[in-house]
Subunit: 259 residues, 2 copies
DNA sequence: GCGTTACTTCGGCCGCTGGCGAAGGGTCCG
DNA sequence: CGGACCCTTCGCCAGCGGCCGAAGTAACGC
């Protein structure tokens, strides 16, 4: 008698699905995979701080539940988020989730967080303060309009094609090509969807941004500084990693790392 | 050592948030509340088939987590989904969730499911086969365009204003006014967002549709039949509740119930 | 072939979470 | 004021679910 749920027994089993994400370890996997890469099982295990055996079972569940896709490569098990759509859902849940603060343990830790909050990868597009600033600037310049939900204006489409950005279709055609993604550090929307992804790809290809592949951190190159300043009117204080602080040495080191 | 999650310890606590929905009872509450009404605590308890004490604790958690909003009215505790946004999120999770079939226990049970799959309320808009058909018809007639994600065309805006539908802003202005909501019975998108809600409201106001308040079931009136046929070209087989079956007596009874 | 590496399976442990009913506190109504 | 009703608090119980480590299998490289 403890298990019978009367009227609403049939229908979608929301609890089961949500249960997939309702575990620290599995959630850590999904958040890590938000960088869009494919990870191996042991990388994920190490990141989440659990034994391989534990990770293995969790990964089974996530794959079976359709959240992750796996690909076997020899003795490696490669895991990625199943679809862009899935990433979108996880983002939106993450934005609603309470922030779990952890005491800062070191200076490098502090730097990591600051750079992460400034610009990071969010599956296939850019997130963080910089992403929000870009979105704001595009609105300011009349490239984005918000009247009927976020959309590119004619000027916006021109702007993109001047950059040589192919305006390709999103994989799921019924989903908006221009979409907003709630930024969990800024609690404000930033550009996502097909256009957001295309713009991010362009920024990487043009070496405006550099992505060090082991983390989600993205850094702005000198070329990126110039481009974003002239094309979007971004100011230096937005482009630099938040208020000038320690860690500039690291920053500048990374900045000249642009290919 | 069992609880330390290394690198990803800080950041959004996705697991905690997902945990709110990862319980049969709490999920049942949320799904029930998708009808957009405010329910009392005991109504919810009864629907989910748990003791009041159990429900009380669950409701605390859901309110504390920001999923539900509560309002005390004398000795009653009224609960509703916190925002339209919340409803949207729950819908989207429900659409991804596995369908949990339950053996059909009776004829009325079977009828209930059939009518629910045909047309039901989904927070502030219409869902079910009828909603999908309406969306398809609007696309067919060039009222909706999908090129850059779903949007109203100029013709669509005219069509709405001919109906006298105020094209009001959604509460969250950064979210698309025209949005698609994945239908969990049809597994195809139907119209939602501000426009979807306005259209549904109009349909109720004009007595095209009738909503019996104790369930999520919506039925089409004779006026609704006529209107949807002439305005959108819907055919009778879509308008009637799926393939002609038993239960017509009930149907016709409801249909003439239009105010 | 051998050792190494990557992942999986198994058994056992522990703690969290959800369940109940009984009793207690508000609120409403007659 | 008394009874009915709605909700909450409390104590207790049961079971699920996550964790680990050890042993087993499968792939790679020398």
């Amino acid at each position: 008698m403890t298990s019978f749920n009367g009227t609403y027994a049939d229908g979608p089993d929301l609890a089961e699905f949500a249960g997939l994400l309702a575990d620290r370890t599995r959630a850590a996997f999904c958040l890590a995979l938000l960088d869009g890469r494919a990870w191996t099982a042991s990388e994920l295990a190490r990141t989440a701080g659990v034994a391989q055996s534990t990770a293995s079972a969790h990964l089974d569940r996530l794959v079976r539940g359709g959240i992750l896709a796996e690909e076997r490569q020899g003795r490696n098990r490669l895991l990625r988020l199943a679809t862009a759509d899935t990433a979108e859902m996880i983002e939106s849940l993450a934005a609603r989730s309470p922030y779990r603060p952890t005491p800062v343990r070191s200076l490098t830790e502090s730097n990591r967080r600051r750079t992460l909050a400034h610009a990071r990868i969010c599956y296939d597009h850019l997130a963080g303060a910089l992403a929000v600033a870009i979105t704001d600037a595009m609105t300011e310049l009349g490239l984005l309009a918000w009247d009927y939900g976020p959309a590119l204006t004619a000027a916006g489409r021109n702007w993109l094609s001047e950059l040589g950005i192919a305006d390709d279709r999103p994989d799921d055609s019924w989903r908006p090509h221009v979409r907003m993604c709630m930024d969990w550090t800024e609690q404000r929307p930033h550009l996502a969807g097909g256009v957001g992804a295309a713009l991010f790809r362009h920024a990487l290809d043009s070496s405006w941004l550099v992505h060090r592949s082991t983390t989600r951190i993205v850094t702005v190159t000198d070329a990126g500084h110039a481009a974003l300043r002239t094309r979007l009117g971004l100011t230096d204080d937005v482009l630099a990693c938040s208020a000038a602080q320690a860690g500039m040495s690291k920053d500048s080191g990374l900045r000249q790392g642009g290919t």
